[in-house]
């Protein structure tokens, strides 16, 4: 039987019996097959396929060669792999005119192909997957895993009338069917079942049944052989069930031989023969199905000991983070004993284990070694900690109750599949509750009201400070941000009435040109607004004054980045054929603009690393004799005009004072932007990262990113209003920061399921194939964990922001104060330089902040892991808990790395500030 397989999607290539002995296999289509089966085809026509935006190259190529090849007859198997429908789904979604065009084209192709077929040719049209409402696939939803199978032959295939409701056939069944139709052995590792209808031949019912029986017999023999040799190698198939299968098989085979003997002896008459044939076929079917069920079931196994061990490790790590964060606040000299020595312990254990493995010649299990090392170092920590743990007072525990309660709710929500499904709404709910609780608690403690004077006490009245309105406005803004961010959610299939947000689809899928243009303009304007806001913030704090390369980059590079992004969006969202001859130019532009953004952003980050100082120093020491007041109240020159708020550093004054005593000159240095130098560096880094991540998302999600920046800003302001102790970030701030991070994971159009991954991100700036898997993985990962990245890098801002915000309040007080206090007042303008005043405290606070962040992250991960472990036999485990666990753990890794990067950026700035002071003093 010469055959032809036209598959409109990619088939499961590994399962195709390619190049069976003596058969001529012709392939045309997707060039991925070339890598999978190099030089296996009799003849092949490959076309580049990896760019999902390219709808026509592969299809047109196939159509050019298909009919001549079919007519030439020089083939036994012809595989034509059309890709246009798949790519069109990715680019435009299923309900787009482009898709209609593509489907019509495919229909035409089939119609004319049928005319070219001979009588002895079988046509199989199969899609290897379906698509979701957004046109993507890769997940496990009903719409993705189901696809159509169309079988056509000019000779009638079905003896009986085909059923009205077509049955679903597992994809693995294609392999044995095609193999037997071609007359080649079934591949060794197949566990599929032949499609019996195709083997009925054109004789009467009995001969058809006999033929089907022989086919089933071959199939069953092959599966039995596979199971037998597999169970010899691996022990993971349960022995009882294997035995049961073995019995099924042997009894069926026995009956088969008996029946065949009777048929040859002609002792059976048709009615009885038919029924016995039917029952035997169903026994073979039963065997094959049970074998497949056994394999699918037992290939998903759990290693209980390792699961418990992993959970324990995560739990103790969380405990360690908590202890260490408490300890670092109370004692100063714990670093060596509690952090360094345990690390050495861990290394030692790892080394010992490695040596032991080397001597015993066993395979080195990296996972086991590293977990043992971690356990050892944790033991070391707790050993050292035991001696010096501070006594906790009940009061302190009670203060923790509110934020920890919210965290507990969040973790508890991971154990219910409904809550995991609804987590996109749970996280904002909890965030809003936490902030409202915070404000309520501040009010309850009387920190928002004016201290009662005698008169007010008499009346029993209290009145608010004026700041309360500011705080209330901030809270209202936060709530509005939280609510608005709910408009960007992606849907899960578990909630059938849900409609995915309009903003998720790329602009290219919009049919209404006017709406497209409006949205485009809105996105670009908001992007420009972000740059404007960042620049005016920097200018407000005097960080835009110097002429360092970094500042110049902020001034000129940021608008350029925005311009590139805007151009890229314009090119990418334009319709396919609207540009006509400019098509080639567009192809270049689609690649060039993202690369320009990548280049500019990495240049900016490099500049930031090289010289993160955004300080402009006005040295007046050269003019001897002049007494410069530290606070330049009235701007005198143009330079001063730009520097709205000059910052003075106390130590500077002191060093100058000592000089004054020694030397003759009385002068000082005015440094603009010194008070917010740490935050400025972080803000610049965050903005650059934001640009990169926005580029990877579809155009209209930039609105969600703007909400993200706004919400983070508001959160920081609320936090700096509400904080108590300096140098320590309270728990509620860390928890609200992380809640916002997970809220925006959902609000940037993601869900912890595989169908919701934005695969398009891998092709931003890449028109054709990727040479490695690393780069697309990084791009898709950055797209998926965008909010984790931004919030983790921005985490040190929680520590810095209250120092930055301290200025306006002290300025307000200024007129009220006595002139004698003026000097003190000036000292209060130090902002972030307060941190440099006590470097010990600064580093401790930074460590504490990192530990707290890791603790909250780790607790969430622990809840997720425990849920996946405890509920591993739950109905929803593969749909809900396992993907959630994977996403959460990847998010944990990404967040931890980014947290370290953020903290190291702050430390880099600290180094730069130190060298800056040294240079000043040397001058």
């Amino acid at each position: 039987l010469p055959k032809c397989c036209s598959s409109t999607g990619g088939c499961l290539p590994a399962s195709w019996p390619v190049q069976p002995a003596g058969r001529r296999v012709v392939f045309m289509g997707d060039d991925t097959w070339e890598g999978l089966f190099p030089k296996k085809f009799f003849r092949s026509y490959f076309f580049p396929s990896f760019n999902v935006k390219d709808l026509h190259t592969v299809d047109d190529g196939i159509l050019q060669h298909l009919y001549p090849t079919v007519d030439s007859g020089e083939w036994d198997v012809l595989i034509a792999h059309f890709l246009g429908v798949d790519h069109c789904g990715h680019k435009h979604g299923p309900d787009h005119p482009e898709m209609a065009k593509k489907l019509t084209q495919m229909n035409e192709m089939l119609r004319s192909l049928v005319d070219h077929l001979g009588n002895d040719t079988l046509l199989l049209v199969a899609g290897d997957h379906g698509m979701t409402e957004t046109g993507d696939h890769g997940g496990d939803s009903e719409k993705e895993v189901n696809a159509a199978l169309f079988v056509y032959s000019k000779t009638p295939l079905f003896v009986t009338v085909p059923p009205e409701e077509p049955e679903a056939i597992p994809q693995v069944n294609l392999v044995p069917t095609v193999a037997l139709l071609l007359g080649v052995p079934i591949p060794y590792s197949n566990i599929g079942e032949v499609m019996a209808e195709l083997f009925s031949g054109d004789g009467d019912a009995v001969s058809a049944a006999l033929q089907q029986l022989s086919v089933y017999h071959i199939n069953a023999k092959q599966v039995d052989r596979f199971l037998h040799s597999y169970s010899l190698v691996a022990q993971d198939l349960p022995a009882e069930q294997l035995q049961h299968l073995q019995q099924l098989f042997s009894s069926a085979v026995e009956e088969h031989t008996q029946l065949l003997a009777q048929v040859q002896g002609a002792t059976l008459v048709p009615p009885e023969l038919e029924s016995r044939l039917g029952s035997l076929i169903s026994r073979f079917q039963l065997y094959l199905r049970e074998a497949r069920a056994l394999c699918t079931q037992s290939w998903a196994r759990f290693h209980l000991l390792r699961m418990v061990g992993g959970c324990t490790l995560i739990a103790t790590s969380c405990l360690l983070c908590y202890m260490a964060s408490e300890l670092s606040a109370s004692s100063d000299s714990f670093y060596r004993s509690c952090l360094l020595y345990p690390l050495l312990w861990g290394l030692m254990v790892a080394l010992l284990l490695g040596l032991a493995h080397a001597f015993t010649q066993e395979g080195l299990d990296l996972l086991l070694v590293s977990s043992w090392a971690a356990a050892a170092s944790q033991l070391g920590f707790f050993w050292h900690w035991w001696g010096r743990h501070p006594k906790q007072r009940l009061q302190a525990w009670l203060g923790l109750a509110f934020p920890m309660g919210i965290l507990l709710f969040r973790c508890g929500a991971m154990f219910s599949d409904s809550f995991v499904v609804a987590e996109a709404r749970v996280a904002p709910f909890l965030l809003a509750s936490l902030v409202m609780l915070l404000v309520g608690k501040l009010h309850w403690d009387g920190r928002l009201t004016v201290p009662e004077g005698p008169k007010q006490q008499f009346l029993g009245f209290s009145s608010y400070r004026r700041e309360i309105w500011y705080l209330l406005c901030l809270v209202a803004m936060l709530l509005i941000c939280v609510r608005l961010s709910g408009f960007f959610h992606q849907c899960r299939e578990e909630i059938p009435q849900c409609r995915p947000s309009l903003f998720l689809s790329p602009l290219a899928s919009l049919r209404n040109t006017r709406a497209k243009n409006l949205f485009y303009l809105l996105c670009v304007v908001l992007l420009a607004g972000l740059v404007y806001a960042v620049r005016s913030w920097l200018r407000h704090y005097g960080n835009l004054n110097s002429s360092d390369p970094l500042v110049l980059f902020v001034r000129w590079g940021f608008p350029l980045v925005v311009l590139c992004i805007a151009c890229y969006w314009a090119v990418a969202s334009s319709a396919d054929d609207s540009l006509g001859k400019l098509q080639e130019l567009v192809q270049v532009a689609v690649v060039a603009f993202p690369w320009a953004v990548y280049g500019l952003a990495s240049m900016g980050l490099l500049l930031l690393l090289c010289n993160p100082m955004t300080v402009f120093a006005k040295d007046t020491r050269e003019s001897p004799g002049s007494i410069v007041t530290p606070y330049l109240g009235v701007p005198t020159s143009e330079v001063d005009f730009l520097h709205v708020i000059p910052q003075i550093y106390k130590r500077m004054q002191e060093s100058q004072k000592s000089r004054l005593e020694r030397g003759s000159c009385r002068a000082t240095v005015a440094a603009y932007g010194l008070g917010s130098v740490y935050s400025a560096a972080l803000v610049i880094a965050l903005t650059l990262l934001g640009f990169l991540l926005m580029l990877l998302h579809s155009e209209r999600l930039s609105l969600a990113f703007l909400l993200l920046f706004l919400e983070a800003f508001v959160l920081l302001h609320i936090h700096s209003r509400a904080r108590g102790l300096p140098f320590s970030v309270p728990w509620y701030a860390v928890i609200s920061w992380l809640l916002a991070a997970s809220q925006f994971f959902y609000s940037t159009g993601h869900q912890p399921i595989f169908p919701a991954i934005h695969w398009n991100a891998a092709f931003v700036g890449f028109h054709l194939d990727h040479s490695t898997n690393l780069l697309p993985a990084v791009l898709v990962g950055a797209n998926t964990f965008a909010s984790h990245i931004l919030f983790a890098v921005g985490c040190p801002l929680l520590l810095l922001w209250p120092f930055v915000c301290e200025m306006p309040s002290s300025q307000k007080k200024k007129p009220k104060k006595e002139p004698r206090e003026e000097l003190q007042e000036v000292e209060e303008h130090m902002m972030e330089m307060r941190l440099r005043e006590s470097p010990e405290k600064f580093s401790t606070a930074l460590l504490q902040l990192g530990l707290k962040y890791l603790f909250v992250l780790g607790t969430q991960l622990l809840a997720c892991v425990c849920a996946a472990m405890i509920l591993r036999r739950h109905l929803m485990v593969w749909k809900v808990f396992a993907p959630k666990f994977l996403f959460e753990s990847l998010g944990f890794v990404v967040s931890s790395i980014c947290l370290l990067l953020g903290i190291s950026l702050v430390m880099r700035v600290d180094c730069a500030v130190s060298t800056w002071f040294n240079q000043l003093q040397l001058r």
Binding site: F419, F429, S433, F458, F461, S462, R483
Partner: protein, 219 residues
């Protein structure tokens, strides 16, 4: 004196609880097909109206805050109007907050608003009865050591309990149990009602337990 006052508080609160139970039971005698879940909006209206009338009557009878000033009729009218405006504003504010917390914006506006009215009845109306349209007094009562009588302590407890109840009421909504009471806003309004009732019962008991510690500043 104090014991007697606590007893009065307990009686008043129990009366409130009893009324709420009655609002769930009695209408079904007059109106076929009335259930709290099935005709939830009607129950919301009935409950709000009954609780507010009872509260106003109780306030008039018990007079927990004796005002020494005699005020003119015009003054009383303006006070009453102010109270109405405050109540309406609190309904709007609650509605806005509920929507910001994730309630649907356009669909089921009536439900959301009636839920806001119910919450206002449980919280704002009580404050209005007890303290009058005097925001500064409200601020004072809802802060640490701000209560000046057992009535005000009770007000604190019932208000916080109602709001907490409404908050917890949102928890079952995402669950896939397909129960009729999981529909918005039934679970929340039931939560608020149960919270309010719990607060009404807890308040006298709590004041009774802590009567040694509770020393109210006299005016």
């Amino acid at each position: 004196m104090k014991e007697a006052e606590i007893r009065r508080l307990l009686a008043a609160n129990l009366l409130c609880v009893f009324t709420i139970i009655l609002t769930a039971v009695v209408p079904s005698f007059f109106w076929d097909g009335f259930t709290v879940l099935g005709t939830h909006l009607a129950w919301l209206c009935i409950c709000s109206v009954c609780v507010s009338t009872l509260n106003i009557i109780l306030h008039l009878v018990l007079k927990p805050n004796q005002s020494h000033k005699r005020s003119s009729f015009a003054h009383k009218i303006s006070r009453f109007l102010k109270c109405c405006i405050y109540f309406f504003m609190s309904c709007i504010l609650f509605h806005a907050i509920i929507v910001l917390y994730g309630a649907p914006l356009i669909e089921s506006v009536t439900e959301t608003f009636l839920f806001a009215v119910l919450l206002s009845t449980f919280t704002t109306l009580q404050c209005l009865c007890m303290l009058g349209p005097n925001v500064q007094a409200w601020i004072r009562v809802f802060s640490k050591n701000g209560a000046m009588s057992i009535w005000e302590s009770s007000l604190q407890i019932t208000t916080i309990c109602s709001i907490l109840g409404a908050w917890f009421g949102a928890f079952p909504i995402p669950l896939d149990w397909d129960r009729p009471w999981q529909v918005w806003p039934i679970s929340c309004s039931l939560g608020a009602t149960f919270g309010y009732m719990a607060g009404l019962i807890i308040a006298p008991l709590w004041i009774h337990w802590n009567r040694k510690q509770l020393t109210y500043k006299s005016r």
